[in-house]
Amino acid sequence: MTTPQSRSRVWRKLLLHRPALISLFVILAYVIAGAAVLCGWITVEHTDAAYGAPQIPGFGLSPEPDERVEDVAWYLSKIRIPLSSLKPEEALRSFPIKDLAAANVPVEELRQRLADADQQLVELRQIPDINTSVASGGSDGKQAIDQLRTLEQKSRELFTLAPDVSPTYRWIHLSLGTDRLGRSILLRAVYSIRVAILVGLVTGLLSVAIGAVLGLVAGYFGGWVDVVITWLYSTFASIPNIVLLILMVYIFREGTIDEKINDLTGNLLKRLLGGVRLDETLVPVYVAFCSTFWIGPCRVIRGEALKLRELEYIQAARVLGYGRNRILFRHLLPNVSHLILINFSLLFIGAIKSEVILSFLGLGVQEGASWGLMISFAKDEVVNGFFWQIGVATVFMFGLVLAFNILSDGLQDILDPKHV
């Protein structure tokens, strides 16, 4: 594996393995999107702001007539609040809907238009069972839908697009619908890529690094080092995964651990994070995942190192008088690199999926959005038969996890064909 020839052979095999190659490109696309979000393309404010009426379906589909009436009512109520404040001009400037601003007319006329629309809203709400009468296509239904359309037109005339937003952006923001707080599902799902990539990369890399070093050392040196490390991983492995996760996050809650670290290191943490508490960042999630995820790679790599240690080339290196570090990291490490790669991609999947469970328990990501937050937030929408948020989060997550599943299968085929 170390010679340039064999390395190029692995690359050639990867290039010929079409599913693995495609999934590599998919992962790359996700990473680029995640990096773009990380650079400030989508911010936390974008994920928290209301963009439109709650639970609008995506793809510009229009909901049932009774829901359309309620959507109009939502828009009207949003403009009523600033209009009824003491200083309406000022209140209108900081508008509660992102992308939209109040129509550029005097306050008095806005009030007039609002009252007019309100009047019509009351009339529409009095129609009994508007959905069936519209669906039946009778004259009542036609009249009702015409009334609804004019009302929607009137409500639209109350707003204009905010000066820095183009109609295309507005359409994109609403393209996958809104959740039950009116937040844009697309923006939240894309923002979550950042969280997924961060959690996957950081925990994957860290736990593989810890596992590889400990496994190599244990396998190569044997003796008491091996006994200690085996004891350590048997111990960690005997605490059920989810219990350890919950305990770890529990420890970080409410900032007690921050004070301890600050006391011990002379306010190092405070200087590093600038007043942000640890449990507001992703650090507890990283620590929780790393403390359970290092076991798998450690066990596998220790087994492999035990086998490799007896091989001629390692013994030859020892006879040549090479130092321990050189043998460990120049001779052994490259020969377990396939295991490192495979384990990394398995852990990446594990991290993304466990994040969902932690978020459901309220222990995961605390601000912004993540697929886990979206899915657990969507459970009340599902009860109402609204599937856009859970669907979009699942599809986004499905793409990344599937790509990693296929990639790790491919890597296994290419690098470790003997594995069951």
């Binding site: 004891w231 350590l232 048997s234 111990t235 960690f236 005997s238 605490i239 059920p240 989810i242 219990v243 919950i246 305990l247 770890m248 529990y250 420890i251 809650r253 409410e254 007690t256 651990i257 301890k260 999926k353 969902v356 469970i357 459901f360 328990l361 697929w371 886990g372 899915i375 657990s376 969507a378 459970k379 599902v382 009860v383 038969g385 859970i390 699942t394 997550m397 499905f398 996890v401 599937l402 599943n405 296929i406 299968d409 069951v420």
Partner: protein, 339 residues
């Protein structure tokens, strides 16, 4: 009987190996309890439970009451002693008047009602599907099964639960008026006879979570069993059987399945701790008062004695079932004993 069957297949019970392996568990368990107790004390348990309004005296009083003011190693010794003597008499902080033992016993029934059928069904279904897949190896049914397993693995557990609960719990109720599955809740055996319970109450409360659990684990299990069977079907004895003129069903069910049982048994015994720890998510979501739910509620309420005891019991179960797996494996494959 099971034991006889195994010794029949695998020869004598490796007592020496069992003793050695059991002795090895002792330092590991002591280590687990040590790590866990240390971790639980990073955030001071008493103020965490009593909140911001408690006075310093109240906190100090509770601390002495539960022996949390003593040196750590004395607390450690006492706790290990309690675990060894199975003494779970201490009272929970949150649910006053209930001992930890009562909480554990109360949670055991619902958890087992959920996990035992789930493990049983998952194993049977995935082994059968894997056999079908291995039978058609490389052809369309096999490919479809492999692809759907990978697809199924890429969707979050939580999505299965939410969607399953909606369609089989809410939507059926809404459209037909019949209610085959409870949306959430649980009823224990109480006065009803077992048969009556198993045919009426159990399916109502537990069948839906069990089905979801089977569906979720099937992806992983089927893939594993299929790999085992494909691997096994390339062995020489299969070629011999085929050359001898044995029919394909005979090869699959008599020759292959018997030899593929070893990894199946190992995998099932690895999942034994799951029987006790249960599926937290299912218990949380369907409001089934099992042990997993008891642990999570205790964590949220900062109910320190309960968290500590349940975590220690879980670790013990884990360790014991790992031991069982290793012993079974050593009986089936004598080469393991040497290492």
């Amino acid at each position: 009987m099971f034991f006889h069957l195994l010794t029949g297949v695998a020869g004598a019970v490796p007592w020496k190996y069992i003793v050695r392996r059991t002795l090895y568990c002792v330092p590991v368990y002591l280590g687990i309890v040590l790590l866990m107790m240390l971790a639980l004390r990073v955030r001071d348990p008493v103020p965490a439970f009593m909140g911001k309004n408690a006075t310093v005296e109240e906190i100090a009083q509770r601390r002495t009451e539960y022996g949390l003011d003593r040196p750590f190693f004395i607390q450690y010794g006492i706790f290990v002693g309690r675990i060894l003597t199975m003494n779970f008499q201490q009272e929970s902080w949150q649910q006053e008047g209930r001992t930890i033992g009562e909480i554990l016993r109360g949670g055991l029934g619902p958890t087992l009602a959920l996990t035992v059928p789930a493990l049983f069904l998952t194993t049977i279904v995935s082994v059968s599907v894997a056999l079908v897949s291995a039978w058609f190896r490389g052809r369309l049914p096999d490919r479809l099964l492999v692809i759907s397993a990978v697809f199924g693995m890429s969707v979050s557990f939580l999505v299965y639960i939410i969607v399953g609960q909606y369609f089989l719990g809410f939507a059926i109720r809404g459209s037909t008026g019949a209610a085959p599955f409870a949306i959430s809740g649980y009823e224990s055996l109480q006065q009803t006879s077992f048969v009556e319970y198993a045919t009426t109450k159990w399916p109502y409360y537990c069948l839906l979570p069990v089905m979801i659990s089977v569906l979720v684990s099937m992806g992983y299990d089927t893939r594993f069993y299929r790999a085992v069977m494909v691997d096994e079907s390339q062995r020489d004895y299969i070629v011999t059987a085929r050359a001898k003129g044995a029919s394909q069903p005979r090869i699959m069910f008599i020759h292959l399945l018997k030899n593929a049982m070893i990894p199946v048994i190992t995998r099932v015994s690895i999942s034994i701790p799951f029987l006790i720890t249960g599926s937290f998510l299912l218990e949380m979501y369907f409001r089934i008062p099992g042990i997993g739910r008891a642990l999570i509620t205790a964590v949220f309420q900062a109910d320190f004695p309960v968290v500590q005891a349940i975590a220690a019991v879980f670790a013990a179960v884990y360790l014991a079932s790992n031991l069982l797996t290793d012993v079974l494996y050593a009986m089936v494959d004598p080469r393991v004993r040497l290492s």
